[in-house]
């Protein structure tokens, strides 16, 4: 064997390593990945999602890794999760099933007028749509960016995958990041838009809700949504099925699975797949950065939309609503309801708003799904 032959063999081996195919842009992506892993571990910001997303970003940004492509006609590991879980729009629906199985709609049933707050808080979704179109995005991309303000992760993933899959990574990351930052983003807006007197408003105690009402709620809601916005029935149907299973009390084993193992498995696949869509060549452009910037404005406008809706409602209501619960209309369950509670306690340390805020919080989930349905209907 000659030296040349040995050198050729060595070259052959070296060319199969990542070192010889290194692209400097991946270093930036490692930074992004580490930042999200740091937020998850050190700051405990949405760790269930930001940790797998961060790690997904990290491992996919190495040259030649067989994760997000096809080899011998078969999808590689994360490509398979992504294809069957997200492209087929299964994972967001399974997560909604689990969320439904965890949710108590009692506060919303006891105070159904808060549903209007959930609608008002979708203002940012539509405002952002306009801004995004002005920036040169297509209408479908604009709709998928707009929904970030709804602060509902599965809905954002569902709509983006449906309308603009090329933005999935950026949109999902922006949605989950801002959801994690609700306690930082919302309080200044809440204080700015409400007076001290308004923040002290005490709300009437919620009436008790019977089991029958709780069982009928998912059936009625599912029926109405299926009639009015059929395009979001995969999401809302699963949500209501989960809730019906919980409230019926007869399928506890299924409820345990839906809110436990099934939800956790789906969350792992969702996080790592979303992260893995963020390769350097896709992410390092102006669009994802713009989405991050606009997402923040979107969130702020949605928060303001909820507060203003309460203020308008108060003009007509005898029993006033504390406008601090308006901000909870942006979904982000239950984080934004907790923020309302904390801000309420700051104004009056005996005024507990948590249960009142849970109602618009849940209405926000339905509202953002309705907004997503409106957008899907616009393009399908």
């Amino acid at each position: 064997m000659t030296i040349n032959e040995i050198m050729d063999m060595l070259k052959g081996i070296l060319y199969t390593t990542g070192i010889f195919n290194f692209d400097y842009r991946v270093i930036v992506m490692w930074g992004v990945a580490w930042f999200f892993i740091y937020l998850a571990i050190a700051k405990k910001f949405e760790p269930l999602l930001l940790l797998p997303i961060g790690f997904g970003i990290f491992i996919v940004n190495f040259p030649l890794v067989p994760l997000m492509g096809y080899s011998h006609g078969h999808p590689e590991l994360i490509e398979a999760f992504y294809h069957y879980g997200l492209q087929w729009e299964i994972i967001p629906c399974i997560i909604f099933l689990g969320l439904g199985a965890m949710t108590d709609f009692g506060p919303l049933i006891a105070n159904p007028k808060t549903l209007i707050i959930g609608a008002g808080a979708q203002l940012g979704v539509f405002v952002t749509f306009t801004g995004t179109v002005l920036a040169g995005f297509t209408l479908k991309e604009a709709a998928s960016v707009g929904i970030i303000g709804g602060a509902d992760g599965p809905t954002t993933v569902y709509l983006t995958q449906h309308l603009a899959p090329q933005l999935l990574g950026a949109n999902a990351l922006a949605a989950y990041s801002y959801m994690a930052m609700v306690p930082i983003i919302q309080p200044p807006i809440m204080r700015l838009l409400t007076s001290k007197e308004e923040r002290k408003i005490r709300m009437k105690q919620l009436r008790p809700v019977s089991k029958k009402e709780k069982i009928l709620f998912p059936i009625v809601t599912c029926g109405i949504i299926a009639l009015l916005v059929p395009s979001v029935v995969p999401l809302m149907g699963m949500f209501m099925l989960g809730n019906l299973m919980k409230e019926s009390g007869v399928v506890n084993r299924l409820v345990e699975t839906a809110q436990g193992s099934l939800m956790n498995i789906s969350t792992i696949f969702l996080g790592v797949s979303v992260g893995a869509t963020m390769s350097a060549e896709r992410f390092l452009s102006w669009k994802p950065l713009f989405i991050f910037g606009l997402g923040l404005i979107d969130f702020a406008v949605c928060t303001a939309g909820g507060i203003f809706t309460v203020k308008i409602m108060n003009l007509f209501l005898k029993d006033k609503i504390n406008p601090l619960i308006g901000s909870a209309g942006v979904s982000a369950v239950p984080m934004s309801a907790r923020v309302s509670q904390l801000e309420g306690l700051k104004a009056d340390n005996t005024n507990h708003l948590l249960m009142h805020a849970m109602a618009p919080n849940l209405a926000g989930v339905i509202g953002s799904a309705a907004a997503a349905g409106m957008f899907i209907a616009m393009f399908d």
Partner: protein
């Protein structure tokens, strides 16, 4: 050399055909169509072809282009651009009028975007208002029934 000159002559001869081919906001008009009205925002013309022929013409023109949606409506076929093109829609009417089929091409406009957005925002309110009404009614009915049952049990 002779061949090159020949090709150049042919190209020169064909050039006016291309330059004379009319379009509106980048959408070609069907040759020999009769323009009814033309403004900054839209153009209306009639063409002596069947609805299906006109539709095929525009399908061929737009073939392979992303973000194009074709909707079949009762009285017309509506081709809509969901991308960033200068035009917004091409409406091909089904019912022939005197000289053929009427086609309307509209410029992309903010009125449409804002209009549809406001309508959809109102739509979200409508969905949740419907739910609100349904829940209020349901709440009243169920609580009345529960009260009746409880009062019966007490008595």
């Amino acid at each position: 050399m002779r061949n090159i000159i020949l090709v150049l002559w042919i190209l020169l001869f064909l050039f006016p055909c291309y330059s004379m081919g009319e379009d509106f906001m980048g959408v070609p008009l069907i040759p020999n169509s009769k323009i009814i009205s033309k403004g900054d925002k839209d153009i209306q013309f009639v063409v002596n072809m069947s609805h299906d022929q006109v539709l095929k013409f525009y399908k061929d023109v737009l073939k392979g282009q992303a973000d194009i949606r074709i909707r079949e409506w009762k009285d017309s076929t509506y081709i809509e651009d969901d991308g960033n093109r200068k035009w917004h829609s091409i409406t091909i009417y089904r019912k022939p009028i005197n000289d053929g089929i009427k086609v309307v091409i509209k410029k992309d406009n903010w009125t449409w975007i804002m209009g549809t957005l406001i309508l959809r925002y109102v739509g979200v309110f409508f969905v949740l208002m419907t739910l609100f009404i349904a829940l209020s009614v349901l709440g009243k009915i169920v609580s009345t029934i529960v009260k009746k049952i409880e009062s019966k049990q007490e008595s």
